[in-house]
C-alpha cells in the first residue's frame, strides 16, 4: 500500500555537535523517498554528505528563534502535499526502519493523525512513551518516565499526547489544524497540538515499535531555573486555555478506600486499578482505608513521587460522600461513609468469615474478582447484590517481548514467587522439585520468597524439608523488592512459572508471568479456575480440599486445595521435556491474557457498574 510522501524536518535545537550526531545517525537509516530539511543556526556545515547528496537542504535561523519560527522556515520549502515528520536534534535513530514503522503506524487507521515514539536515554532509561495532563495540576506528565528500559510500552497505544521530538504528522492534521508548536516553546506546545488534533477528531498514537535515543541534557542551575520559570508561565497559559476541555476528562466520581504503600497484592493491584480508572474517565478520590484499630498500618505517606497517585490522594473530599468503594479486607468495609457503598474484596478459601459477611451485608453491593469468591460469599449467606469484577495485568509492562536476563549456563529455569506460609505450600513445591530432578540435570527452581514474619527463619524451614543434594537444584531470592515496572524482566528470565499453592484470591504473579508468555503450572482450584484452562496453562490436580490453616483467623472453618504432588512431578517433567509444547502454551496464554484480562478491562467493568449496567 502506498502512502503519501513524507518531509522530515530536523530542528537543530541543541549544539552543532548534537545536530551533527543526530544527522549522522539519521543518514544511516532508510529514509525511502522522504524529503529532508534541516533548520539550524549557522551554515548547515554539520549536514553529512550522504544527506546533502540525497537532496536534503538546510535553512538557517537565528539561535534564539522559537520552534514555531524554525518549523515555518522549513515549511516554506516543504511539499504541501506531504506528511510531516518532526525531529529534534537531541535524538538519535538506532533503528534503520524507524520511518517505515512510523509511517505504517500513522496510516494504519483512517483517523490516526499524530504518531510519536518511545523516547529513551542512551543509558538504558525510558524518557517517556506518551503524555497526559491532569486537570488538578496542569503539568504535562510523561508516561513511564525514568523507568529502566525493558522494552515496555512496545505496542501501539492511543495516548493523550506525544513529544514532537520524533513524531509523524499526517497531512490531514496539518490541513485541519495547521503546523505544530504555536505559542508554547516547550512540552506544553506538544501537549496543546495533540489536544487540538484530538479535538479535530484525530487519534494520537505512541508507536512502541520505534525508539529514539537521547542524552540526558546537561543544565546549569541557572538554565534549570530559567527553564522552570518558563515552564510555569507556559503552564499557567495552558491552564487558562484548556481548563474547560480538560475539566471534561471524567464522567464519574468515586471515593476509593484502600491501601497503596505496602508490598502486598492489594496495594499493587490498587495502584494499577486507580491508573486504569483514571484512563477510563473515572475521577477517583483515594483515601487510605486502614489505620488504628484495623489490621493495617496506622497511616501511609501522603506523597510518594508518583504524580497520578499523589494527585488522587490529595483531592479533597466531595461535599457529600457519594459512590464509595472499599477495596479492602471485608472486616473494614463499614468504615468509610458514602451515599452508595461498595465492598470489593477477595479471599483464598471456600467461604467468608461471619464478620466479613455481616459488614458486606451493610453495603449496597459487593464486588469480588472471581466466580470462586462469588460462590464463597453466597455459600456463606450473603444476600446482597454480588458482582464479579476480575482483576488484571498491565499489558505494557507484562508481554512476551519484555527483556529478560536468562541464566547464561543454559539451565531450564522454573520460577515461583511467593510469600512464605502454609497457603503457598512451599514444602510441596520444594520437595517435589527436588525429588523430580537430579542435580546433574540442567534444570533449576528459582524461588523468589518474601518473609515478613519474624518468627520464621526461612533457612531453618527449608532445612527441615531435608532436600537431597543429588536432587533438583533450587536457588532463592529472599526478601527483595523489585520495581514493579521491571518485574516482567524477572518472568522473562525464566522458562516456566509455577504456582502450586493451596488457594488464591487472584494470583497476580501467575497472571503476569502468563502475560509474559511463560508456560505456567497452576493449581486447578480457587481463583485460578476463573482464568486458566488447559489451552493456556498446565493445571495441577487437587486431591480434594483440606481444612485451611487454622492459625489464620480468616481461614478458620474453611477449606482449601490439596494439590497432588504426583501430578506436580509429572507436570514439571512434561514442561521440562516438551519445551516446544510448553512454549506454545505460554504464547497462547500471553495472547489470551492480553485480550481478556487487563486493568482496562477491569476499569471498563467498574465503569459499567457506575452506569448501573
Amino acid at each position: 500500500m502506498s502512502h503519501p510522501p513524507a518531509t522530515v524536518v530536523v530542528l537543530g535545537t541543541g549544539s552543532p555537535d548534537l545536530t551533527r550526531t543526530c544527522l549522522e545517525s539519521l543518514s544511516r537509516t532508510r529514509l525511502e523517498d522522504a524529503r529532508g530539511l534541516v533548520v539550524s543556526p549557522g551554515s548547515g556545515a554539520e549536514m553529512p554528505e550522504k544527506l546533502r547528496n540525497g537532496g536534503w537542504i538546510h535553512a538557517s535561523v537565528s539561535a534564539d528563534a522559537p520552534l514555531a519560527a524554525r518549523l515555518a522556515a522549513a515549511m516554506e520549502s516543504a511539499d504541501p502535499k506531504s506528511d510531516l515528520v518532526v525531529v529534534r536534534s537531541e535524538f538519535e535513530f538506532p533503528q534503520a526502519d524507524w520511518l517505515e514503522r512510523l509511517r505504517a503506524c500513522a496510516h494504519s487507521a483512517p483517523r490516526s493523525g499524530i504518531v510519536g515514539c518511545r523516547l529513551a536515554l542512551a543509558g538504558g532509561k525510558l524518557l517517556h512513551a506518551g503524555t497526559y495532563v491532569l486537570p488538578d495540576t496542569y503539568w504535562v506528565q510523561e508516561i513511564g518516565h525514568f523507568e529502566k528500559d525493558v522494552r515496555q510500552f512496545a505496542s501501539v497505544r492511543e495516548v493523550e499526547g506525544v513529544a514532537l521530538s520524533g513524531a509523524y504528522i499526517r497531512r490531514e492534521v496539518l490541513e485541519a489544524i495547521g503546523a505544530p508548536f504555536g505559542d508554547f516553546d516547550s512540552v506544553f506546545g506538544d501537549a496543546e497540538y495533540c489536544l487540538r488534533a484530538r479535538e479535530a477528531g484525530f487519534q494520537v498514537l505512541c508507536c512502541g515499535a520505534v525508539t529514539l535515543l537521547g542524552r540526558e541534557p546537561w543544565r546549569t542551575a541557572k538554565d534549570l531555573d530559567h527553564e522552570l520559570r518558563s515552564l510555569q508561565r507556559s503552564r499557567h497559559a495552558f491552564r487558562d486555555r484548556w481548563h474547560a476541555v480538560l475539566g471534561q476528562r471524567y464522567v464519574h466520581e468515586v471515593s476509593w478506600h484502600s491501601i497503596l504503600e505496602s508490598p502486598t497484592g492489594y496495594a499493587v493491584s490498587c495502584a494499577e486499578l486507580l491508573r486504569a480508572l483514571d484512563r477510563n474517565r473515572v475521577r477517583v478520590i483515594y483515601r487510605y482505608a486502614y489505620g488504628p484499630g484495623t489490621p493495617g498500618p496506622d497511616s501511609e505517606p501522603q506523597e510518594t513521587g508518583d504524580h497520578l497517585l499523589d494527585v488522587l490522594r490529595a483531592r479533597p473530599d466531595p461535599p457529600e460522600p457519594g459512590y464509595t468503594v472499599s477495596y479492602t479486607q471485608g472486616d473494614i468495609f463499614e468504615r468509610p461513609p458514602g451515599r452508595y457503598r461498595v465492598g470489593y474484596t477477595m479471599l483464598e478459601v471456600d467461604g467468608f468469615p461471619r464478620e466479613w459477611v455481616r459488614q458486606a451485608s451493610e453495603m449496597d453491593e459487593v464486588w469480588v474478582p472471581t466466580e470462586f469468591n462469588r460462590r464463597g460469599f453466597l455459600d456463606s449467606g450473603l444476600k446482597k447484590p454480588l458482582f464479579v469484577i476480575p482483576l488484571g495485568i498491565d499489558p505494557d509492562h507484562f508481554h512476551p517481548d519484555i527483556a529478560g536476563y536468562p541464566n547464561p549456563l543454559g539451565d531450564f529455569v522454573f520460577l515461583s514467587s511467593f510469600e512464605w506460609g502454609p497457603r503457598k505450600a512451599p514444602d510441596l513445591l520444594l520437595k517435589t522439585f527436588n525429588e523430580t530432578f537430579k542435580a546433574r540435570e540442567p534444570v533449576r527452581l528459582l524461588c523468589k520468597i518474601t518473609n515478613r514474619n519474624p518468627s520464621i527463619r526461612i533457612v531453618d524451614e527449608i532445612r527441615r524439608f531435608e532436600l537431597q543434594e543429588g536432587g533438583g537444584r533450587i536457588s532463592f531470592i529472599l526478601n527483595r523488592q523489585f520495581p514493579y515496572s521491571e518485574l516482567g524482566s524477572l518472568y522473562r528470565s525464566a522458562d516456566c512459572y509455577v504456582s502450586a499453592g493451596r488457594g488464591e484470591g487472584w494470583d497476580l504473579p501467575l497472571m503476569e508471568a502468563m502475560a509474559c508468555g511463560l508456560p505456567a503450572i497452576a493449581t486447578d482450584w480457587g481463583a485460578h479456575t476463573d482464568y486458566t484452562h488447559e489451552g493456556i496453562c498446565y493445571l495441577l490436580r487437587s486431591r480434594g480440599t483440606v481444612p485451611a490453616d487454622p492459625t489464620n483467623p480468616y481461614y478458620r472453618e474453611f477449606r482449601w486445595a490439596d494439590p497432588d504432588p504426583d501430578h506436580l512431578r509429572a507436570l514439571l517433567r512434561e514442561v521440562y521435556e516438551d519445551r516446544d509444547g510448553a512454549r506454545r502454551r505460554g504464547l497462547a496464554a500471553a495472547a489470551e491474557i492480553a485480550a481478556k484480562w487487563t486493568w482496562d478491562h477491569t476499569a471498563m467493568r467498574i465503569f459499567a457498574r457506575l452506569e448501573g449496567e
Binding site: 536457588s475 523489585f482 521491571e486
Partner: protein, 96 residues
C-alpha cells in the same frame, strides 16, 4: 616501656608505621578489586577461608548466600539475577 623514647627508637617506629600503612594500602587495594570482581558466593568463600573457617558453611549449596531477614531490600532485577547466575558456578555435566 619508658615514658620517653630515644630519637633512634622514634625513627624506627615511624618507619614501621610507614611500612604498615603501605601494607594496609596494598591490602585495601586488593580487597577493593576482589569485592568488585568476585561473585557473592566467592566473596563469602574468601571471607570464610580468611577467617580460618571451612570454605563451605554447610552441605546445602542451594541456601548459599541467603540472609535471613524480614526486611525488604529494594533491588534491580538485572543485577540480582546476575548475582544469582554468577553464584551457580559451572554447569553440571548433563550427559552424566
Amino acid at each position: 616501656m619508658t615514658g620517653e623514647s630515644s630519637p633512634a627508637e622514634m625513627a624506627r617506629l615511624r618507619a614501621r608505621i610507614r611500612e604498615l600503612e603501605r601494607a594496609l594500602r596494598r591490602k585495601s587495594a586488593v580487597l577493593r578489586i576482589l569485592e568488585r570482581e568476585l561473585c557473592l558466593r566467592d566473596s563469602i568463600l574468601l571471607t570464610r577461608v580468611a577467617a580460618s573457617g571451612s570454605p563451605y558453611p554447610d552441605s546445602d549449596p542451594s541456601l548459599f548466600g541467603a540472609s535471613d531477614t524480614i526486611g525488604l531490600r529494594t533491588s534491580d532485577v538485572e543485577s540480582t539475577l546476575a548475582q544469582v547466575w554468577r553464584s551457580l558456578g559451572t554447569p553440571p555435566d548433563a550427559a552424566e
